[in-house]
């Protein structure tokens, strides 16, 4: 009997996955481009599956990945609690856990933020050789928790293999409160590759008060003879 049930489930799934109803396709597409006039109506339709999504936001569910993706577009705050359980579960792989956190970040209210941060601080792998996409998702949560951003994490990321991630670090510098740490990061990035990182760093240095800029005087002088034309020009204009 068990085998028959499994077989029937498989057959049903195959049929469904090939014949996606039009409304599901429409809701997917409404997230992407245009169609905004119908988007609200379509989202109401998809909201009917909220319970299904919640049931599958479960570390044991084989449809966990799909449920996390669905929760990211339906935007229902009832997803926060089950997503937190997913994020905290050691049974779920690191990528799924961070994805869950990323979705919570979009959904959560102020009173849930501390809990999210506690979970998050346990799973973010800034010093590990994992996908840069995952580190980016982790980094983004500091937009909601600027006071919790640690300068030393940004310093680590400036040496990351991913140039994209190094550049992204500069976007977070303005969140730092400690002026010394800001100087350290901007000074380091001014001497690092790629040149786009140095350019972004110069943009941030322009925002610093004069006394702080003076602390970076040596780096700024050196930068006037940078190997890259754009960087050289930007430095000379400071």
């Amino acid at each position: 009997v068990k085998k028959i049930i499994i077989f029937l489930s498989f057959v049903s799934m195959s049929c469904f996955s090939e014949q996606v109803p039009e409304w599901v396709q429409e809701v997917r597409l409404s997230q992407q481009e245009g169609k905004e006039a119908n988007a609200d109506q379509e989202l109401k339709l998809i909201k009917g599956i909220n319970k299904t999504v919640i049931d599958n936001l479960n570390p044991e569910s084989v449809y966990l990945h799909e449920a996390i993706n669905s929760s990211s577009i339906i935007h229902d705050k009832n997803f926060v609690e089950p997503l937190l359980k997913v994020a905290q579960s050691e049974k779920v792989d690191l990528l799924q856990r961070s994805m869950a956190i990323s979705v919570i970040n979009q959904l959560s209210t102020a009173d849930q933020l501390k809990l999210v941060l506690t979970t998050y601080s346990k799973i973010c792998p800034f010093d590990k050789p994992v996908s840069a996409v995952l580190k980016l998702a982790c980094l983004n949560i500091y937009d909601r928790f600027p006071s919790e951003l640690k300068g030393r994490d940004l310093v680590i990321l400036l040496d990351d293999e991913s140039y994209e991630l190094r550049i992204e670090v500069i976007n977070k510098v303005s969140l730092l409160k400690d002026p010394k740490m800001k100087e350290q990061i901007l000074g380091k990035s001014l001497g690092s590759s790629p040149y786009q990182l140095r350019l972004r760093s110069i943009d941030e240095i322009k925002k610093l008060p004069t006394d702080q800029r003076l602390n970076l005087k040596v780096m700024l002088e050196k930068c006037k003879s940078d190997s890259n034309d754009l960087v050289r020009e930007a430095c000379r204009k400071i």
């Binding site: 990211s72 577009i73 994209e164 991630l165 303005s174 790629p194 786009q196 890259n228």
Partner: protein, 317 residues
């Protein structure tokens, strides 16, 4: 059972994939089934069975000592209230895949080496249609300052964002003007106003201002000027792929008029961001593998809506 059935709807395509690396990796298996009839090594072989159209396209594409490929990641904002800007995530995943070493089996869009000091440049060597080593240079252009639209458009960053995306637009158009052999764009179509590397122009209600994009077509006008300049200099691209939504409708006629020898990859319908990313990867993989008609078409069929126009013209057969 009902729960399983409903969730099975999401099995083939996830709705809003933040996990673009997983999306790309999952599509790699499909490359094993592609028809790999290829122009690679074929142009010195008089018995070669590849079509004349395929042979000619790649002979022309590899005429210069460097094969230049330019990829534009347009500003891919999400529908409010989400602040996600997808192109940054897409670029992260794309770079992760193309720099992968060793290359996965039957994949050519990999093993690129990053320029030591330029985040937008990548290099690799491949074997060309004459069996010789050939340098490939890949350039990326991104218009978003960060992956957070709220950050990009807040009062303290908006001017910097607008300057940044204007520079990105100019860089992308310069690639078109100087006739990079392959030019590809992913992002929003802005209902005919793309390519667009900047945050969307909004109506008072916060929705995107499509009437503006339809009437003004800002990115399209600049693209037409760039195509015209390239044509005047005799440097039209070999392939241009607009992989965003409904590009067949928006761009087939105007692009054909300005670049009648250029092969076009265009979409027949609305296309999800993860499918755009797969089609981008598939296009580059096909160019590097020098795939002919069937194989090339198979590699860009994600979402099932892509059309190849004039890529391997019949009159060449």
């Amino acid at each position: 059972m009902i729960i399983v059935l409903i969730l099975s709807l999401f099995m083939n395509k996830s709705l809003h994939a933040i996990d673009y690396v997983a999306e790309l990796k999952s599509s790699l298996a499909q490359f094993n089934t592609i028809n790999n009839t290829s122009a690679q090594n074929q142009c010195n072989d008089p018995k070669s069975k590849i079509s004349k159209g395929c042979r000619k396209r790649y002979e022309s594409m590899f005429r210069d000592p460097v094969l230049n490929i330019s990829v534009g990641f347009g500003y891919f904002d999400h529908e409010a209230p989400s602040p996600v800007v997808h192109d940054v995530y897409m670029r992260f995943a794309f770079v992760e895949m193309i720099t992968k070493k060793p290359c996965p089996p039957k994949i050519s869009a990999c093993g690129f080496q990053r320029s030591p000091d330029d985040a937008d440049k990548f290099f690799k060597e491949i074997i060309n249609p004459w069996g010789k080593k050939h340098r490939v240079e890949l350039s990326l252009t991104t218009g978003a300052l960060s992956n957070n639209n709220s950050f990009n458009t807040n009062a303290s960053n908006i001017n910097r964002q607008l300057k940044f995306c204007e520079e990105a637009t100019q860089r992308f158009m310069n690639h078109v003007k100087k006739g990079d052999e392959v030019v590809l764009y992913v992002g929003h179509s802005r209902d005919g106003g793309a390519p667009d590397f900047c945050p969307p122009k909004l109506l008072k209600n916060g929705r995107r201002d499509y009437p503006f994009y339809r009437s003004q077509r800002p990115g399209h006008k600049r693209m037409m000027a760039a195509l015209e300049e390239a044509k005047a200099l005799g440097k039209s691209s070999e392939i241009i792929g607009m992989l965003s939504c409904n590009t067949l409708k928006h761009y087939l006629n105007p692009y054909t008029e300005k670049a009648n020898k250029t092969g076009l990859i265009l979409s027949n319908n609305e296309t999800l961001s993860q499918d755009q990313l797969r089609n981008l990867f598939g296009s580059i993989d096909s160019v590097l593998a020098q795939r002919c008609e069937e194989g090339f078409a198979q590699s860009v069929k994600h979402s099932g809506f892509m059309s190849l126009k004039n890529v391997f013209p019949r009159e060449m057969k």
